[in-house]
């Protein structure tokens, strides 16, 4: 009987090698994918903590307005004068000083400010590093048919790690004449 040459010799090895290369490719993709996902643990936690810090800033801003409304109305009155173009240089200067002082209490980076004291307490509670502040604090009025409504527009920010969140609230207020 004549022996035929074995043309299939090594086919199995070749197939296995192809499979192995495919599996190793998959493993490589997975390893890199997993590495990129590892950081997202911290990111998620920082995002939630930033939101909590921004909420704290919002509470502080509303609270200050509630306990010291007349101090804010002085700023608002000067701002209205400035917008109408009736404010002189002294009034504009006073506005800048008052507004800076009003906002300084809300910034956690200002040592000794109420915000800095709150930040210290929050950091102590969670063992994290938060910072927060108020970006905008203004009174906006909307005039429609027969009524004028006033709103307090507050935009706060909170940060933890590399994550920053912004909160904005529009609170209806009634300004007595």
């Amino acid at each position: 009987m004549k022996k035929l040459p074995n043309s299939r010799k090594g086919v199995a090895l070749a197939v296995v090698m192809v499979f192995c290369i495919a599996i190793l490719g998959l493993v490589t993709v997975l390893v890199f994918n997993t590495r990129s996902h590892r950081g997202s643990h911290t990111y998620q936690q920082d995002a939630s903590r930033s939101l909590m810090a921004a909420t704290a800033a919002m509470q502080l801003a509303i609270y200050k307005y509630r306990v010291l409304p007349s101090e804010y109305y002085k700023i608002h009155a000067l701002e209205m004068q400035k917008n109408k173009g009736t404010a002189d240089a002294a009034a504009i200067n006073a506005l800048n000083i008052l507004k800076t002082a009003w906002m300084a209490d809300f910034q956690s980076d200002n040592a000794g400010s109420p915000a800095a004291r709150i930040k210290a307490k929050i950091d102590q509670s969670t063992g994290g590093n938060h910072s927060f502040g108020v970006e905008e604090f203004s009174l906006v009025s909307k005039t429609a048919q027969g009524y004028t409504r006033d709103y307090l527009k507050i935009r706060t920010w909170g940060a933890a790690g590399d994550t920053r969140k912004v909160l904005e609230e529009l609170i209806e207020v009634r300004i007595s004449d």
């Binding site: 009987m1 035929l4 074995n6 299939r8 090594g10 199995a12 090895l13 197939v15 296995v16 090698m17 499979f19 192995c20 599996i23 190793l24 998959l26 493993v27 997975l30 390893v31 994918n33 997993t34 996902h37 590892r38 997202s40 643990h41 998620q44 936690q45 995002a47 939630s48 939101l51 909590m52 810090a53 909420t55 704290a56 509470q59 502080l60 509303i62 609270y63 200050k64 509630r66 306990v67 010291l68 101090e71 002085k74 000067l78 002294a90 006073a94 000083i97 008052l98 002082a101 300084a104 209490d105 109420p114 004291r117 709150i118 307490k121 929050i122 509670s125 969670t126 063992g127 994290g128």
Partner: protein, 203 residues
């Protein structure tokens, strides 16, 4: 029996060497496959673990935020005095809506454990007074103080003298102010801890 018939029978009973694979080939193939598959299994397992932990942490954070929201809307006076016996916890989870309670014992609270999938989330909360209301009869330094610069113009300084610093006034708050801390333990290395500040808006 003729020799040709014997060969035919032998060929019928013995498998062809050309049609199959050699034992060495199979063993080598298995060996190479094992080398390739073992790290793949390890990586899959690791990836699954990372994905699971990430999902659990995200869920814990969402639960924590939900509990903070519940505490932010609770009656302030009762909350700061530790006079709330319990608060309802109605939370939407991927497994459906969860209805539990946050039971207080003084300023500490523990929630009904939430089970989502195989993970059990244990909720805890703490209400802590971080600033005390100022007392006129016995002033203390633990009250929150706001400051502002008086809008009244400072007196004009005499020629050559340094300008006086702008007058700064302070207001000491007459409210106890609190810090809300929520902890969610999901069996991870470290429980989730969220904290925020809440002020008394009742005035």
């Amino acid at each position: 029996m003729p020799v040709s018939l014997q060969k035919t029978i032998l060929l019928l009973h013995c498998p062809s060497r050309r049609a199959g694979l050699s034992l060495i080939e199979i063993l080598m193939a298995l060996f190479i496959l094992t080398i390739a598959v073992l790290p793949a299994i390890g990586t899959f397992s690791g990836y699954y673990g990372v994905a699971t932990r990430q999902m659990e942490q995200e869920m814990a954070l969402k639960l924590g935020e939900a509990v903070v929201n519940v505490l932010m809307t609770a009656n302030y006076s009762l909350l700061k005095d530790g006079a709330i016996p319990s608060l309802p916890l109605n939370i939407q989870t991927p497994s459906g809506s969860f209805a539990g309670t946050l039971t207080f014992a003084g300023s500490y609270a523990s929630g009904t454990p939430v089970t989502i999938g195989k993970t059990r989330y244990i909720i805890g909360a703490e209400v802590k007074k971080i600033f005390l209301a100022q007392d006129i009869t016995a002033p203390h330094n633990n009250a929150l103080e706001f400051s502002w610069i008086s809008p009244d113009a400072p007196p004009v300084p005499s020629a050559g003298a340094a300008p006086p610093p702008p007058p700064v006034a302070t207001y000491s708050c007459f409210n106890d102010l609190i810090c809300l801390k929520v902890t969610v333990d999901f069996g991870g290395a470290k429980p989730i801890e969220l904290a925020t500040f809440r002020a008394d808006m009742a005035r």
